[in-house]
């Protein structure tokens, strides 16, 4: 155990999850302290990724499961024509690599959208921990379910919905994910390029900007630089053809927190 500790990079002062600034939004705080000790032993806190730096390439062997500590990461695939297809975005506290568990290979690419930091859990250690900890299984199942929800929504979005609905759903999804990790759901930075948003939603960049502008004109959101402020959540939900406030994930996430 102490030998492993020595292997961690010098200069990393946060030697344990409990000391990490992200602790409160990381799944690590939900597992038992014994499990966390195991995690602390195997975890590699990585050197910061620079903006546009890749974490891994498509087809590469799955060596680690990765938690985003700070910044944000984009995942994408390459189409047969060689075009980039954006498949998702990962925010602090979210886990990258779960989609590679079955094939033990990364199905796509992952690149940092801004200067970011990550924690890597070696794949085999991760599997060993899953064997031991029902709680960790539960958490991972939930994370997978969340990702599946996002993916299903995206399928629906790109298949049939108009631009305003797509953009509204996208903003609500970002907001929901931030709320889940106890971040401000009404005011957040869109760290991705508008090209990435356009690509992800299957729209042109002009349409993304026109649609965001229209939502701003309708006083549903305000946008300044990359900061988005949701002024009228019910209005946004209406555009997304969702039910008004009251039955949403924000409240679920708070009740989950409260119940713990």
């Amino acid at each position: 155990m102490s030998k492993r500790k020595d292997l961690r990079e010098a200069g990393d002062i946060e030697t344990r999850c409990e000391d990490c600034s992200l602790y409160s939004l990381c799944f690590a705080q939900e597992i038992s302290s014994d499990d966390r000790d195991d995690l602390n032993d195997v975890l590699k806190r990585q050197q910061p990724l620079a903006k546009s730096e890749h974490m891994f390439h498509g087809g590469q062997q799955l060596k680690t499961v990765t938690v985003v500590r700070s910044g944000s990461v984009k995942s994408y695939q390459i189409s047969p024509d060689g075009d980039e297809i954006v498949s998702g975005f990962y925010l602090p506290g979210e886990v990258i690599g779960l989609d590679g568990l079955s094939a033990e290979k990364h199905p796509g690419f992952a690149v940092a959208l801004e200067d970011s930091r990550t924690c890597d859990i070696p794949f085999h250690d991760f599997m060993a921990m899953l064997d031991k900890s029902p709680k960790l299984n539960q958490i991972m199942l939930r994370l997978l379910a969340e990702e599946m929800t996002e993916t299903r929504e995206l399928l629906l979005v790109v298949g049939r919905l108009d631009a305003k609905t797509r953009v509204a759903l996208f903003l609500l999804s970002m907001s929901r994910r931030l709320a889940r990790r106890k971040q401000d759901p009404d005011q957040f930075r869109l760290t991705m390029d508008r090209r990435d948003i356009a690509n992800y939603l299957g729209l042109t960049i002009e349409t993304v900007s026109r649609t965001v502008s229209a939502l701003q004109r309708d006083k549903i959101i305000t946008v300044r630089g990359k900061m988005v402020h949701i002024l009228d959540r019910d209005g946004l939900r209406e555009h997304a053809h969702q039910l008004p406030e009251g039955d949403d994930d924000t409240s679920q996430s708070t009740s989950r927190q409260a119940g713990r």
Partner: protein, 471 residues
């Protein structure tokens, strides 16, 4: 100061108080940018500008564009000039300049996403009308080829009445220009001779008449006070002539005599410059006269007729400040071309090399001619917002700023707010629960109030001699 006629005023009128001017009229920047150009660094370079342009495309709603072209030539030197220019009578130099400018457009335009529309274009100098009407046509066509213009974009340029005929003004209108600014400065013959810029009133009024006849949306005139040999009586005649023409906007600039910085000014003999008392009297008389004649005070040195878009912008709170002064349109990225031109893209300032030859060589080698610049940090951005609100709206909402920048305003600006106490007790501003509002007595001191929030210019800043007096 009894006014014979009372006009319905839309905006607050500044009041003039000698004692306040003595105390608060010291030197200060005009805040066409914050931080000011003094903070620009040589380390910034073309890479900084490229990064800023790429970043500006990535926003959910990329800013629309304002273009500026610096035409650096003049046929003869005006001695008061503080601009970057080359004095020449060469006919071919304009064509060479346009060749190079097209290279610059070709390097910059592809870096800007095509869906971003040009909302403003301004040609300054130097003397834009140094270029012939044909050359100006070529320039305008090039700009339209490289960028897409909004259908209601504001296209403006500065006009030297000595360098264009009334017929040329018609041509400018048909090229799409919808506002012009005529450099009048002073109409007294001896003053004109002393500054080497001689044109009589008829030249100005024939240009103005052509502009009115063809239907420009707005015609502006620039005047300068503090020039050699100026007297209160003489400048009053100039003001009367200008008021009679009734341009939509009048800019009344205060001449800053800084011969150690601006070589051209060494031609002006110091003893001919009016005394501070005369200068103040000229300013006071002009101010009173312009207000009486129905002009509204926008801020600093700008006046406009009540139906002008600047007045509306001042009322709506949409007035903005950029490198050309007050503007009706904020939130645009400014792409600037030509030697010494300054671009602002997002939170980045990029200035081209001042030297015409260096600018030309750089572009012939297909390199952006960026010489220096600056990336604003969060503190710069915060202070820039505050300074713009003071300069453009004459008020500040502490709570709104605090909320937006997520900070406790009163704590963050403890020192600055303490410095405002003296101004508040002098009646330049009044505090309210949300912040403060500049009073009529304070309107002439917007720069001095704004300066309290300038992190780079403390009260004892050593570079204060580089700025013109506030009043």
């Amino acid at each position: 100061m009894v006014r014979s006629v009372v006009f319905m005023s839309k905006l607050m009128r500044p009041s003039f108080d000698q004692d306040l001017i003595d105390r608060h009229g010291g030197p200060g920047p005009s805040y066409t940018s914050y931080p000011t150009t003094l903070q620009f660094s040589d380390d910034y370079g073309a890479e900084g500008y490229k990064r800023a342009m790429a970043e500006s495309n990535s926003l959910p709603i990329p800013s629309d564009l304002s273009l500026y072209v610096h035409v650096p030539f003049c046929t003869s030197p005006c001695f008061y000039c503080a601009c970057n220019r080359v004095v020449t009578r060469s006919n071919s130099i304009g064509d060479h300049f346009l060749d190079t400018l097209e290279l610059e457009l070709g390097l910059v335009a592809p870096r800007i996403d095509a869906d971003r529309k040009v909302e403003q274009l301004h040609l300054g100098g130097g003397t834009p009308t140094f270029l012939s009407v044909q050359q100006l046509g070529r320039l305008t066509d090039s700009l339209r080829r490289h960028f897409s213009f909004s259908y209601d974009a504001e296209l403006s340029l500065e006009i030297d009445p000595r360098t264009i005929r009334p017929g040329g003004v018609f041509d400018l209108h048909s090229m799409g220009y919808n506002r012009i600014s005529i450099g009048v400065q002073d109409l007294e013959p001896d003053v004109q001779k002393a500054v080497n810029r001689v044109h009589d009133l008829s030249m100005v009024s024939s240009i103005y008449g052509a502009g009115r006849a063809v239907g420009f949306d707005s015609i502006s005139m620039d005047l300068i006070y503090g020039l050699p040999l100026q007297t209160t009586a003489g400048f009053a005649r100039t003001i009367e002539s200008v008021i009679k023409l009734r341009p939509d906007r009048i800019a009344l600039f205060n001449y800053a005599h800084l011969p150690h910085v601006f070589k051209a000014q060494r031609q002006i003999s110091e003893e001919q410059i009016p005394t501070p008392a005369t200068r103040l009297a000229i300013f006071r008389n002009s101010l009173v006269r312009l207000l009486d004649a129905g002009y509204e005070f926008i801020g600093m040195d700008h006046f406009a007729l009540p139906n002008d878009s600047l007045v509306k912008a001042r009322q709506d709170g949409t007035l903005a400040r950029n490198f050309q002064g007050y503007s009706t349109h904020g939130g645009l990225d400014m792409l600037s071309f030509g030697p010494s031109a300054i671009s602002q893209v997002g939170d980045s300032f990029a200035q081209n090399t001042r030297d015409l030859d260096a600018w030309t060589i750089s572009l012939k080698e297909k390199r952006l001619p960026t010489a220096r610049g600056l990336d604003r940090n969060t503190d710069d951005r915060l202070r820039a917002e505050i300074i713009e609100q003071i300069m453009c709206q004459g008020q500040l909402d502490h709570r709104e700023i605090g909320r937006f920048f997520e900070l406790h305003f009163d704590r963050y600006f403890e020192t600055e707010l303490a410095a405002l106490d003296g101004m508040a007790s002098d009646g330049l501003l009044v505090r309210n629960p949300n912040g403060f509002k500049v009073t009529p007595s304070g309107l002439l001191f917007l720069r001095a109030i704004a300066k309290q929030f300038d992190a780079y210019l403390g009260p004892a800043a050593e570079n204060s001699h580089r700025f013109s007096r506030i009043v």
